[in-house]
């Protein structure tokens, strides 16, 4: 039985909710798993600490909230303080290394990988695709959603004239994931 709980977190405005939505769409519509996607709603989604949650399962999903994540993506220090601690052993913790300073004590038995997602997106000329770089990294590291499914979900979600840069961003994240896995 496959059952993944995933949390994406950061500042409102970084595309945290969109990132969770794309993971969910890729897993649901294209990988054909059962998926529930929930999100912060209200002022926090438009500024402060923001999170979105995805459950992917081979079984019918009853309780729709993430309680004990198997993968956590973190793109701000405030989100790290809230969601980066007391993770269960074996959890994937993915951080933007320029935005999140991790505490080594939190990393015992945790599969921690970091990427300069925001910097790479700036190199591409579009800071708003940092979330998509992170999605590529997430896909490559965790393999919880297929690459094809994720790419189709991106294509059917972002404006068509923006697809190319998003695809490049996604692939950059995938490449970095391969490097990071070799390094481990």
């Amino acid at each position: 039985m496959m059952h993944y709980q995933i949390r994406v977190s950061g500042f409102g405005g970084q595309g945290i909710i969109l990132a969770g939505y794309i993971i969910g769409k890729g897993a649901s519509i294209y990988d054909r798993s059962n998926v529930s996607f929930t999100q912060s709603y209200g002022p926090e989604a438009r500024g402060g600490a923001c999170s979105s949650q995805v459950i992917i399962s081979s079984e019918e999903i009853d309780y729709p909230h993430v309680t004990d994540p198997d993968a956590v993506i973190i793109m701000s220090q405030a989100a790290y303080a809230r969601y980066g601690k007391n993770l269960k052993p074996g959890t994937f913790l993915l951080t933007d290394s320029d935005l999140v300073k991790v505490d080594p004590e939190d990393l015992v038995n945790i599969k921690h990988f970091s990427i300069q997602a925001t910097k790479f997106s700036e190199d591409l000329g579009k800071k708003i695709v940092a979330n998509i770089v992170m999605l590529g990294f997430f896909t490559g590291i965790t393999e919880m959603v297929s690459r094809e499914g994720m790419l189709k979900a991106i294509e059917s979600t972002v404006p068509s004239k923006m697809f190319d840069i998003n695809k490049t961003a996604f692939e950059k994240g995938l490449q970095e994931a391969e490097k990071a896995k070799v390094a481990v």
Partner: protein
């Protein structure tokens, strides 16, 4: 549009309205129901429908009643404070027997309460919120897919029983995104408007069939249409006396109450072996409840879930049957005691009944439900 979509419960509800035949939406924006109005404003003009943002919820409810008499299937959507404002004209819809759909995306309450967070505390308002004696139909989805399916169902019930139908969804379902299958138009079964069996010169507007349900000519079809909120006779003319009142109000109540078994819709989970413990729940709260049942079944407990799809009229038969077999019943809902009162009433002392309530703001966690079940089974009634 049809196929598989990854969409939230609000948008699925709007799509359900469109699939259900809705071609006029009148509403006023309110969190967490705004996405329904937003979707309708984008979709309806492209398919020959009309979207109107009204000046408030009172006018919105009136507008959909008028549209329905004009022959167009119509709906509105709101949340707690707007639902309160719609109550007077919901009663107008009930007494004029106007098919239409009212969606309440419930949030934390009373008053403005928790605009962005979940609640299920409008259930008794749905049942009794407008003044006077009446019965209403209210259905409650637990997922975006059901928000779609049940909104179609709401339109069909409203035509079949000639009454406003309430879709009692909530913020958690409204803002949760899951896969939703939208059917092609030719695969959707729609209940047609009940055309009069007689020509205009032989027909009375509020004549009715053996199930107490009147026919439904539209204004402009050539029939004499006189619609009033006053107590009226079969012609639709005001007759303000006890005799007419007795006949009309009894029929309004009976057309729902006597057809309750036909309207009833519920789903049992792990109910086949007549479990000792039965949870009754509806809407989003049935999901943590199902999680609880699955967990406790693994520990060997004989427990099942009855999920109410149609909450009003209350499915008395099935509750009575369960109450005479089970050793205890739990009503799990996101309020401090509403549908649980009905479960207790119908249970009538057959077995101990408990409510596992919540004041709103979040859905129950499975752990807190399990804890309350354990405490109640140990301590019995307070």
């Amino acid at each position: 549009m049809h196929g598989e979509f990854f969409m939230n419960g609000d948008i699925a509800c709007a799509e359900g309205g469109i699939s259900g035949g809705c071609r006029l939406f009148a509403g006023y924006p309110i969190t967490p129901a705004t996405e329904i109005a937003e979707r309708m404003s984008q979709r309806l003009p492209k398919i020959g429908g009309v979207f109107i943002q009204m000046e408030d919820e009172i006018a919105s409810m009136n507008c959909i009643l008028g549209a329905s008499w004009g022959g167009v299937k119509s709906m509105t959507a709101t949340s707690g404070p707007g639902f309160s404002l719609m109550m007077e004209n919901l009663g107008l819809g009930v007494i004029t027997e106007t098919p239409c759909v009212l969606v309440d995306v419930q949030r934390g309450s009373p008053s403005t309460g928790l605009p962005t967070l979940v609640g299920q505390a409008d259930m008794m308002q749905a049942r009794w919120g407008s003044h006077g004696d009446y019965e209403i139909i209210a259905i409650s989805p637990w997922s975006p897919q059901e928000a779609y399916d049940f909104t179609i169902k709401a339109f069909n019930l409203s035509e079949k029983y000639r009454t406003p139908v309430l879709v009692m969804t909530d913020e958690a379902v409204g803002h949760m995104t899951e896969k939703v299958t939208i059917l092609p138009e030719d695969k959707i079964v729609l209940e047609p408007r009940r055309k009069p069996p007689l020509p205009p010169d032989k027909f009375k507007l509020y004549s009715y069939d053996e199930k107490n349900i009147p026919w439904a000519p539209n204004a402009g079809d050539g029939y004499r249409i006189h619609v009033t909120g006053l107590t009226h006779d079969e012609r639709g003319y005001p007759v303000v006396n006890a005799e007419t009142q007795n006949k009309l109000v009894r029929r309004l109540v009976n057309k729902i109450r006597l057809n309750e078994k036909e309207i009833a819709d519920y789903k049992g989970f792990y109910m086949d072996d007549d479990p000792e413990i039965v949870i009754v729940s509806y809407g989003i709260t049935a999901r943590p409840s199902l999680s609880v049942v699955r967990r406790l079944r693994k520990k060997g407990m004989k427990i099942g879930l009855l999920k109410l799809n149609v909450v009003w009229p209350f499915p008395e038969d099935v509750i009575r049957k369960i109450a005479s077999i089970a050793t205890s019943m739990f009503t799990v809902e996101n309020n401090l005691g509403q549908v649980s009162i009905e479960v207790e009433r119908v249970n009538f002392g057959r077995c101990p009944c408990f409510q596992i309530g919540h004041a709103g703001g979040e859905i129950h966690s499975p752990e807190e439900i399990i804890k309350e079940i354990e405490v109640s089974l140990k301590n019995g009634h307070r």
